[in-house]
């Protein structure tokens, strides 16, 4: 899966060209035979695609479109069916303080966790890439959180955050701090969740930086050392520019993940206290499955789809998939 692949890909010819390329269709019969063969091949190809197409349409494309349509209707209740309501759901949304809270929280979540997770990931990769003692143990410590189910991690962190006798307060006490209800306080609950996200994601991003670092030619570092470059210079002039494409790739994925976060909210805070930790997808879940207001949930989902669409367009213009999706 290298750039070479592009060549192989372009060399790929369909079967008909290979087979029928040599002989010239000189009679109407031969022409018809070839057209039949073409048709047959098309049919065969589409048959192979059929299961995937049906499933994808059923669970991705059709629901995406009907979500947008549903957002223009009222929620059916009891005997009252859904009625066309133009942009009423969106008007409700604009006036809904919880929606704004969720959007704010989610943006904040993305803007804070993504840069922190990425910088830590790069630091980790640099740690593990060098000839440091206990490299394998370090890599294990960094990467293991990625393997854990989020729900398990969330429950472990709940224990960590327990006021008074959780580990964080125990350590805090050594430094003279009192008991803090990390998850019960509107100002600390969201940062407490962010910490869990950073803890879980940084190790995952690390492996991409690690792969990028291993691609950097040792000659470059050798040359820099000959020039007596400082370590900062080496980082800023060699390492950083060379891992830039990886950084962009990781950043886009981290951004997408940030808008899909929901597990830790359900497991740790339930969106509380006072909606301080409500994120977009959690709010959709709550509106849809606790309040059963499906029309409004559809409008909220449309917003989420728009956000993801914008991010993916940015990705399309910022990076070339083929290079990074090895």
């Amino acid at each position: 899966m290298t750039p070479k692949q592009k060549q192989t890909a372009s060399c790929t010819r369909i079967r008909t060209e290979n087979r029928a390329g040599g002989q010239r269709p000189d009679s109407a019969g031969a022409q018809r035979a070839m057209r039949n063969r073409q048709l047959n091949l098309q049919l065969q190809g589409w048959l192979l695609l059929l299961p995937a197409v049906v499933l994808l349409a059923t669970f991705t494309h059709v629901p995406a479109v009907s979500t947008i349509i549903d957002s223009l209707f009222s929620t059916p209740r009891g005997r009252r069916p859904a009625a066309f309501s133009e942009l009423d759901q969106y008007r409700t949304m604009l006036a809904d303080p919880i929606f704004w809270r969720a959007l704010d929280n989610n943006l904040l979540y993305a803007l804070i966790t993504v840069p922190i997770a990425i910088s830590l990931a790069l630091v980790m990769a640099l740690c593990v890439n060098g000839r440091i003692k206990g490299r394998a143990a370090l890599r294990l410590a960094f990467f293991t959180p990625t393997i854990l189910p989020m729900v398990a991690a969330a429950n472990i962190w709940l224990f960590f955050y327990t006021p008074d006798y959780g580990l964080i307060d125990q350590v805090g006490r050594l430094f003279g701090f009192g008991a803090i209800n990390w998850l019960g306080n509107t100002s600390t609950a969201l940062p407490a969740l962010m910490a869990v996200t950073v803890w879980k994601e940084a190790g995952f991003f690390m492996i991409f930086f690690l792969a990028a670092l291993q691609q950097v030619s040792p000659d470059l570092y050798e040359a820099a050392r000959m020039e007596n470059a400082s370590r900062w210079q080496i980082f800023s002039r060699i390492t950083w520019p060379l891992v830039m494409p990886t950084t962009l790739f990781v950043a886009v994925n981290a951004l997408i993940n940030a808008f899909r976060i929901v597990d830790q909210v359900i497991a740790m805070t339930g969106g509380g206290p006072d909606n301080a930790t409500t994120l977009l997808l959690f709010y959709i879940y709550q509106v849809a499955f606790s309040f059963w207001d499906t029309g409004y949930a559809a409008a909220l989902s449309t917003v989420l789809l728009t956000v993801l669409g914008v991010v993916s367009l940015a990705q399309f213009f910022l990076l070339d998939r083929r290079i990074h999706y090895r």
């Binding site: 899966m1 440091i132 189910p149 429950n155």
Partner: protein, 270 residues
């Protein structure tokens, strides 16, 4: 600052970061293997015990949850292998009318995963009568854009001459696929399988919505139900349960560490 001192401080910082990262898990392990009384006090002489695991195992039907999760992840993986292989093969080797557009449409699913559209997908499952079934949990993930993308790239890199050679001997399309493409793409299947299994082992929101009985709940949902039904906040038992649910994946990871990391890397995205 001398070079040596600086090197030492770098190593120190690296180790500190590693320690901080390992701490939550180590702490959970500590709490899980000691009696509750020691869960928050650290004494080297604290007695070890498996009791917390036993209590968690007895307090909730974890055995059933394990079976559900294993059936779920293996079922999804098998389905993905079949469906994505066929689609990827067609996209890699056929020049179809509208093939390019179709591929672009497939890639949309990388962004819009089934669990974003929970309302509509729940409705669809309801119409299919698949609510509270493992099939219902797995079905939306079977046609995976990621799998199709990954396998298509792999198939494209396989020389066309091999394909032609086998066909010359009279092999059918599916025989060609089985004789040429599958063996050569084996490492990719292993990577994809690992990523798929670990993703669905950990998946939470969608199974939470779709399942509502012990017979269908996977481990993640079971753990959440177990932990939220107030266990008298016995952290030792909750930590034991959390570790237990992640154990198979963690052990597999410890054994095949390099393979795991390579797979995640190859896969690029979950």
């Amino acid at each position: 600052m001398s070079e040596r001192l600086r090197a030492l401080s770098t190593i120190g910082a690296a180790w500190l970061l590693g320690l901080i990262w390992g701490l939550p898990l180590l702490y959970a392990i500590w709490a899980a293997v000691h009696p509750s009384a020691f869960s928050t006090s650290f004494e080297i002489i604290a007695p070890l015990t498996w009791n917390n695991f036993a209590r968690a195992w007895d307090a909730a039907p974890f055995a059933r949850y394990f079976v559900n999760t294993i059936m779920l992840v293996l079922g999804i993986m098998a389905g993905q292998f079949v469906v994505c292989t066929l689609a990827a093969f067609a996209l890699a080797r056929w020049k179809l009318f509208g093939g390019e557009v179709l591929f672009a449409l497939i890639l949309v699913q990388l962004m819009v995963t089934p669990d974003i559209l929970i309302v509509e997908n729940y409705r669809t499952l309801h119409q299919l009568g698949l609510i509270d079934t493992l099939t219902g949990v797995g079905l939306p993930y079977v046609a995976s854009a990621f799998g199709i993308f990954l396998l298509r790239q792999t198939f494209k890199s396989i020389p066309k001459e091999l394909d032609d050679a086998v066909r010359m001997e009279g092999a059918s399309t599916l025989q060609t696929l089985a004789r040429v493409y599958l063996p050569l793409a084996r490492p990719v299947y292993i990577a994809y399988g690992l990523v798929s299994v670990s993703y669905h082992w950990n998946n939470f929101l969608w199974p939470l919505i779709v399942t509502n009985s012990v017979e269908t709940r996977p481990l993640t949902v079971g753990l959440q139900v177990f932990a939220s039904v107030d266990q008298g906040v016995d952290w030792s038992v909750i930590c034991a349960a959390a570790l237990m649910t992640s154990a198979p994946l963690m052990i597999a990871f410890l054994i095949f560490q390099r393979g795991f990391i390579q797979s995640f890397l190859r896969a690029g995205i979950r």
